[in-house]
Symmetry: C2
Subunit: 561 residues, 2 copies
């Protein structure tokens, strides 16, 4: 444990070790049991005291879990699944009984949520949002002192684009036309090819847009959607909810999560042999959770493949601003297709964008859009209808989506501060990506590909056979078992690779790179000491002055090989 | 046409009449054709020029409308359906070619969207939202001059409830816990019975909450959801999208849209005979589009019925603040159930609330919640999972949902202005409801029940047999035909009753009562002159100084009886 071990750390290690070595070890709280059963987790969601919630009653509850929609039961969403529910329960324990667990707080690395850990929003964006929320202050003299001149000007521009300047009115089902104009102009500037505001559908984040496309395309379990493995679990969840079949294509870990067209061909053939009609191909670029950035030639091959096979190309491009290596650049699939000479009629293509990612990180604002090209008017009409059923996406999110596609420009009053804020965030993300990647690769039994983009790392962990057998006994995937033990011992929330998909027999976990975004120097990292079954978590950042080390799950003789 | 006819009106009538009498009549714009074909409407949604959009191409488009999910094709959403698409096309025509239609602007009465027509938001709510969007100004001296003291205090309170004060972070999947505490307290204060924050799921308006419940409950077309007829088309759309069966129960127009338990029993029996498992009962109170407010005894009967038959009670209570008659009061179904002695385990009950309605009318903010009681922990866990797949609802909407459930109180700095704003809106709504109801009832061939609550009137219109036959020829429901002609002649957008459901052989339309909210004296109204087939629209408000009359659809000899 070397120099990081302090008195406090020793105490924490003692607690952690006790609970890890002895499953019956009880601390001051009864909640410190090592594992939470699903029944116990379920109780977390109910308002009833646990001892009465299932009590018998004169009236039989009319609804049992077995009588629910089986598609809902089948759906899994790992990034907010069992691990996160357990984390929330532990967090409640910690609040109710401080000291009841061998850590002081929960470190959520399950999902990229930058502002939850102190990343500051871009000032200009928030100024504009505040002014649009409360336009009556726009004319007041105090406002000049509080807000930048260009934010005031932009707010006026946006209000003028909204019929009646009513930011509290339902908009057009696709979103406010003027904001779509701005977004289309932003896409044109990015790609160098025309974009049409009528192709833009503004949505509450990218997730509802993905659902909308799945709803449109999936008729039955005989319809397949091609997804990368590993994939972001939104796709598997949405396909399950809509009753389709996820057709996997494997990214090649050995070549930095490469996407090979030969693999696509092989898997498409296999799916067709099973009677599956593959309708669309999901590509996530930059990759989530894998962090690779596709080469342009690779993108061309994918476009050609979709064209030839008649697949709708669903391009998840929400990390388009998150690129960390100088040798890679983001190219939208639309730009690639257009540069190949394919026009609107040649290939059906949907590009998803979100305000939650990039340097903006405005997850809670739920803004996003999809750009829909290459569909017939009749199909488009159906997309419009589905969008209409929810009336419109939230206007603040719509405004923010227009802002991220048209930030301040050179010469604007806010430009310098905007650029500094943006650059600070992106530089810090790049540094942390590299730090974490190096830290993970320095560990015996852990390998991690280069983080070229996005916000996550997806290291492979070699687990001892005995640990795998223990997991089987507990009816958990080995990496889920690992993640639960990691959480119980350290408070760190990672998502097991099995939630994303992985080559059978390999085990991974996904970790958001920014969980200690408050510091710009280190990410948490793991260091193995001596043996494969002893991993040390050095949380040097969150407790900078009193560094401590925590023994994490594999330091448990019961599962040591 | 009496005294309202002016020179300008005559010209407009001439135009309108010409186009009504002669389907080949062309005005300066080619867009003034009397009806828009669905192909033409479809073109509205595409970016392609109409003459090339369907041109043949080397590559066959892989996706045709016939190959889409049939549930999507089946889904209809009348309040933003064909009529609204036509209205948008006409609006574009008017912009491109002013004078191309016999009206100057489109009057959207299809949906309650108060701020789109100038209803001002509650100042206190917007102050708090702006401060939460841009919290860095909270400490600045200028802010004291711009914002009320209690809005600043409330913003601090809310920020303190958000982990890291991060309004740009994803929240808990059910919404920010502190805001759910506030909402639960608001429900308790409203009902006099306990409410649990763990029962609250914050959503982007009420619509996604309704979808979530349908997704949970519907397994196949053999599962039925009981809905009032007429109903708000969200329900029929959502049931269609999820592949279930809408089981109708008819509200009794003769008794003010009464909901009779005998009718429920009859329809339940009929559905069961057809092999339908009825899983839930939707009640909309106050009624949409029918405007009735249920009597408490009636609510008790409904609760008892659901309990006895094992139905989930889905209570759409989004108009709870919109009651216009002194003899009626809003009682939540949860309050009614609890006052009958039924606890959490006795009846599964979901109450939907939204920030879009009431006196707040914040449709564009997409805030809302559902309060979920009486489900087993296992079922609750599934609801939580589905909520998690979209991560969380937008934070501004969440904040607003907490504000509408805990507005300023007596003694707060903002209370007087808040009360005046609220009272002004509700008083004006009540006056307009009465004015419109009286105006409609004064027309021969039109009958309209009392508008006790909500925001719409749903008059019955007796259509001439010849008009019905013309509609059949055009393959339109007679009331849809009426609505299209009304729109083409006057620019007024109403929704045909067939989009909501109605007793076969009766015809209605739904009109938002607030379309002229800018005035507090009159709503648009119809006046019949001499004969059933001549209806005069007296738009005395929007053109107050140059009153004019427009002959609306039925004044067409081609469809006169």
């Amino acid at each position: 444990m070397r120099k990081f071990v302090a008195h406090r750390a020793k105490k924490l290690i003692t607690n952690a070790t006790a609970s890890l070595f002895n499953p019956h070890h009880q601390s001051s709280s009864s909640s410190s049991n090592q594992y939470y059963t699903s029944a116990r987790l379920a109780r977390f969601f109910t308002s009833l005291p646990s001892d009465t919630s299932m009590a018998s009653d004169k009236s039989t509850p009319p609804l049992t879990v077995d009588s629910l929609n089986p598609k809902v039961l089948k759906c899994e969403y790992a990034v907010r699944g069992e691990i996160v529910s357990l984390a929330q329960t532990l967090q409640q324990d910690l609040q109710a009984n401080p000291g009841s667990h061998p850590f002081e707080e929960i470190l959520y690395c399950n999902i990229g949520n930058p502002q939850s850990l102190g990343q500051q929003p871009i000032t200009f964006f928030r100024e504009v949002l505040a002014l649009c929320d409360h336009p009556t202050i726009l004319d007041k003299s105090e406002t000049q002192g509080l807000f930048s001149a260009d934010s005031i000007e932009r707010a006026w521009q946006i209000l003028d684009q909204i019929p009646g300047r009513a930011t509290g009115a339902y908009s057009h089902s696709q979103g406010i036309k003027g904001l779509r104009d701005t977004i289309a102009a932003g896409i044109e500037a990015r790609d160098g090819f025309p974009a049409d505001p009528n192709d833009i559908f503004l949505t509450d984040g990218a997730s509802p847009a993905v659902h909308m496309m799945m709803q449109l395309l999936i008729r039955s379990e005989k319809d397949g959607i091609f997804c990368p493995i590993p994939q972001y679990p939104l796709y598997s969840a949405s396909i399950a909810l809509h009753g389709g079949t996820l057709v996997p294509y494997y990214l090649d870990e050995a070549t930095g999560w490469g996407l090979e067209v030969s693999e696509l061909k092989k898997q498409l053939e296999a799916a067709r042999q099973k009677g599956i009609t593959v309708r669309a191909l999901v590509v996530i670029n930059p990759g989530n959770p894998t962090g690779q950035v596709l080469a342009e030639q690779n993108q061309r091959d994918i476009v050609e493949f979709c064209k030839k096979e008649g697949l709708v190309l669903l391009a998840d491009e929400v990390y388009q601003e998150n690129i960390y290596v100088p040798e890679k650049q983001f190219h939208s699939f639309k730009k690639v297709a257009r540069s190949m000479g394919y026009g609107d009629k040649d290939i059906p293509l949907v590009s998803f964008q979100s305000v939650s990612k990039g340097y903006y990180g405005e997850c809670g604002k739920r803004g996003g859009y999809m750009e829909v090209t290459g569909f017939s008017p009749e199909v488009r009409e159906q997309i419009y209808k589905v969008a209409s059923v929810n009336l419109c996406s939230n206007i603040s999110g719509q405004i923010l989506a227009s802002l991220v596609m048209s930030p301040p420009k050179v010469g604007d009053e806010s430009y310098d501060s905007y650029f500094a804020e943006r650059d600070g965030i992106l530089t810090s993300l790049a540094r942390r990506a590299k730090t974490l990647e190096d830290a993970l690769n320095s560990l015996e039994g852990v390998t991690c590909n280069k983080a070229e983009g996005a916000m996550y790392l997806f290291p492979q962990v070699k687990l001892p056979n005995k640990a795998i057998k223990e997991a089987e006994k507990a009816k958990k995937a080995p990496d889920a078992y690992y993640a639960i033990r990691l959480l119980n011992a350290t408070g760190i929330v990672v998502v097991p690779g099995s939630g994303f998909g992985q080559v059978p027999g390999t085990w991974h976990f996904s970790s958001w790179m920014s969980s200690v975004i408050r510091s710009d120097s280190f990410f948490f990292f793991f260091e193995r000491e001596k043996r494969l079954d002893t991993m040390i978590h050095l949380d040097v950042v969150r407790h900078l002055k009193k560094c401590h080390a925590l023994v994490v799950p594999l330091n448990d003789t019961s599962i040591r090989e």
